[in-house]
């Protein structure tokens, strides 16, 4: 479960996020969309504990990220849009490193399976510099999935992936949700969001302008009935 209540973050006088409230239930995939600079990254960083909200609370798997960070962080995985890897660790060593951080008992088996799933088995001994952008992204995803997180937060997870990997990644996200993980997916690829997510959160200028299923969102804007997510998104964010 991912739960944000009145999440607010100021930078000086600038409001990056204001009173963001939502929840993602176990087994659910929810999309987070918004134009550039809308506050998506600030929201995601607050959710995973990278930055502290000025106001409001975030709970992951029932634990407050600020007051009870360790169990909350054990339950979550954050996969950023830009894969950050350690330059002197090989792909396999990255998984060993993450395995120790999260005390993953069967790290060898799980690591091998994830490397195979991500098509990286033959690159297990490669350093990040020897991997392509897409391979780095796959390795970052493998690191995120190693400890079977119950809350999965993804920021543009398909960036740099080849078509085959995109298909596998979509399947992985769906499977993780079916296995009980709460998934929050931030992306500008509205087709992907429409395909995978049961609900959508739309953020603009740091505020939530809409949330719910497509039917629920359209019900408040009858003129958008029958339109796709792209038209709805552009209308909600005043870009149409």
């Amino acid at each position: 479960m991912i739960e944000a209540t009145k999440l607010t973050r100021y930078y000086g006088d600038f409001v990056a996020a204001r009173d963001i409230t939502f929840h993602v239930a176990p087994g659910e995939v929810v999309g987070l969309v918004g134009p550039n600079g809308a506050g998506k990254t600030t929201t995601l960083r607050s959710l995973v504990g990278i930055i502290k909200p000025t106001r409001g609370t975030v709970r992951i798997a029932g634990y407050d990220v600020q007051t009870d960070p360790i169990p909350a962080k054990k339950a979550l995985a954050f996969i950023p849009d830009e894969p950050h890897l350690f330059p002197h660790l090989t792909a396999r060593e990255h998984l060993n490193f993450i395995g120790r951080l999260y005390n993953v008992a069967d790290v060898q088996e799980k690591g091998d399976a994830l490397l195979a799933e991500m098509d990286l088995s033959d690159r297990r001994d490669s350093l990040p510099d020897e991997l392509s952008r897409g391979m780095k992204q796959k390795l970052a995803i493998a690191c995120g999935l190693l400890h079977d997180p119950s809350a999965l937060l993804l920021d543009e997870p398909l960036t740099g992936l080849d078509p085959g990997a995109i298909r596998r990644m979509k399947k992985t996200i769906t499977q993780r949700a079916e296995n009980g993980a709460a998934v929050l997916l931030s992306s500008h690829l509205l087709g992907l969001v429409e395909e995978l997510c049961s609900r959508v959160l739309v953020i603009q200028n740091g505020e939530m302008v809409a949330q719910g299923t497509m039917t629920e969102i359209v019900s408040s804007r009858p003129e958008l009935a029958g339109r796709g997510l792209e038209d709805v998104f552009l209308a909600l964010t005043g870009q149409s």
Partner: protein, 575 residues
């Protein structure tokens, strides 16, 4: 194109300055700028208002520099030839790589851009050198010009030597063949220099002869040949007056121009060889796919990169922060190769010992070798924590990643510090142990004395190193914007303050941190002294070390809280 490059360099410098000025609104960074300004005033103010040293001091300085500087610069150049530095010499920023390399700009123009880009640093270095050398007879504009030619030449020598090194390393025989002339010059010069230095060392019978032997060495024809280019670029700085300065300056400018032309040729040759090798590599792969393995010759480029195996394995179960310690040790192991450095020292020391033994000195070698090893271990106490930076100083840029890990700030900071302490302490203990054994062999130390020093070293060194590394990490956390980020680095006055705070601050904090433990240790040892005399120093010292360790642990806990409360966006670590 030059105007375009000047625009890029100028606007980048202006924007960096604006960014720094904005950062001064934070009191911590304002304080660093003040420290930098005070330091600058002492250097620059002393230059302007202080009295110049008497002429005989200046002449003495010039004589000393004339004797030693070419040798030191020559050794530095030999390092570039032998170990390279190509990546730092010509490294492109991501924006340069993505925007300039694909642009319709020739490789030569790109090289000119990189040379222009370093000019501000070279000018600043020349300016500072002219301040520091105010005791020399020349006026400061001439000293500045001489310094600029010196640093510009050395910079280009570094890049060219590193390119030749990289070509030989990466392209094997083709690389050597393409750079055969400069390589032949280097081999000849290095052999001549090395042979003369070894002969000079063998001739030394006592330390009183060192200066005289050095003077004779510098006048030997082989040494004059090997160090000729470095003498030429150093000569203008050491001239006695403006008239005497003109000819050496003209020669130095010629050497600079020669370096520029050499660099252009070296870079072009490097590119051609890389392209040729790339084509050959493709042919080999094609042959391999067709099953034609026989007759193919593999060069170094075909071999898989050999990575150092981690010194210890990591079980998945256990204290999670140990993973951070392990990561940093592996990082240091693969980036700095600390044990390889120790081995190089041992080989050099053993070489000197062998030469001394062959030259008939029976008592000296063990003493000299032991003293060098112990001395280097001591120097490493200061240099090690500054050089080994595989902790928060490099990891803070990954704060968006670290913050998602399920470990407390305290455990993370402790693990980061422990990794560097381990990397610093291990070579120190090896050097120290070998040094003490050698001193024992030379009879400079009695057996029990050597044993006592070993025990004391094993107890004291890790604690002292922990204090030094902790201070460095505290500075990184207090001034997080100084952490080299992906897009910008500090510079100017604030950067100067950064350097001063880092080095002087570390030493001052270390000295101050000793006061409470020393007081506690004295309180324990004092009463015992009446009964046990000098032996009371043993429990007293143990109490000092224990108090220092405890105090450092409290400091680390505070740093952990500071880490937890640091906002990476406000600190400038994330955008």
């Amino acid at each position: 194109m030059t105007r375009l490059f000047l625009y890029l360099i100028g606007r980048s410098a202006r924007n960096a300055a604006v960014r720094q000025l904005k950062r001064l609104r934070n009191p911590r960074y304002a304080l660093a700028a003040i420290v930098g300004a005070v330091y600058f005033f002492f250097v620059f103010g002393g230059f302007r208002i202080g009295e110049a040293p008497p002429p005989e001091v200046g002449r003495g300085m010039a004589d000393t520099a004339r004797g030693v500087a070419p040798l030191l610069v020559g050794l530095l150049a030999a390092w570039w030839w032998l170990w390279g530095g190509y990546k730092t010499g010509l490294a492109l920023l991501p924006a340069e790589r993505d925007l300039l390399v694909p642009a319709p700009i020739t490789r030569r123009q790109l090289l000119q851009y990189k040379i222009m880009q370093t000019q501000p640093q070279i000018v600043i270095s020349a300016l500072f050198t002219s301040f520091f050398t105010r005791g020399l007879p020349l006026t400061w504009p001439l000293r500045f010009l001489s310094g600029w030619v010196l640093f510009a030449t050395l910079h280009q020598h570094q890049i060219a030597a590193s390119l030749v090194h990289a070509a030989a390393e990466e392209q094997g025989r083709q690389g050597v063949r393409r750079h055969i002339i400069p390589l032949a010059f280097f081999v000849a010069a290095f052999t001549a220099l090395a042979a003369s230095v070894i002969r000079a060392v063998m001739d030394i019978r006592d330390t009183g002869q060192v200066t005289e032997r050095l003077r004779v060495l510098m006048d030997e024809p082989a040494v004059l040949f090997a160090l000729a280019p470095f003498r030429a670029v150093l000569a203008p700085t050491l001239a006695s007056n403006a008239v005497e300065w003109m000819q050496p300056f003209a020669i130095a400018v010629l050497v600079l121009v020669g370096h520029y032309l050499w660099l252009q040729r070296t870079d072009a040759a490097f590119e051609e060889a890389a392209a040729e090798l790339g084509a050959k590599h493709a042919d080999r792969l094609s042959a391999l796919r067709k099953g034609g393995v026989s007759g193919m010759r593999f060069t170094k480029i075909d071999r898989a990169k050999k990575l150092a195996t981690p010194w210890f394995r990591m079980d998945p179960a256990g204290f999670p922060a140990f993973a951070v310690f392990w990561k940093n040790v592996v990082y240091g192991q693969r980036a700095v190769h600390p044990l390889r450095l120790v081995m190089v020292v041992f080989v050099l020391v053993a070489g000197v010992g062998a030469i001394m033994t062959f030259s008939g000195d029976e008592d000296g070698p063990a003493l000299v070798m032991g003293s060098v090893c112990v001395g280097l271990a001591a120097v490493y106490t200061i240099a090690g924590p500054l050089a080994m930076r595989h902790d928060l100083r490099t990891d803070l840029r990954n704060m968006d990643l670290l913050r998602t890990y399920p470990i407390t700030g305290r455990d993370l900071v402790a693990a980061e510090i422990a990794g560097t302490v381990f990397l610093v302490t291990l070579p120190q203990l090896l050097l120290g142990a070998v040094g003490i054994v050698l001193l024992g062999i030379s009879d400079a130390l009695l057996g029990w004395q050597a044993g006592l020093i070993v025990v004391a070293t094993v107890i004291v060194l890790p604690v002292v190193n922990t204090v030094m590394v902790t201070v460095q990490n505290a500075i990184a956390l207090l001034f997080p914007a100084w952490t080299p980020s992906r897009d910008a680095q500090p510079g100017g006055m604030e950067s100067m303050g950064q350097g001063v705070i880092t080095i002087i601050g570390t030493l001052i904090v270390f000295a101050v941190s000793l006061i409470p433990p020393l007081l506690v240790g004295s309180a324990v040892a004092g009463p015992l002294y009446l009964k046990f005399g000098a032996w009371s120093a043993v429990p007293g010292s143990l109490v000092v070390v224990a108090a220092l360790a405890g105090q450092t642990w409290l400091f680390i806990m505070w740093l952990g809280r500071l880490y937890d409360t640091t906002d990476p966006v406000e600190a400038g670590l994330l955008t």
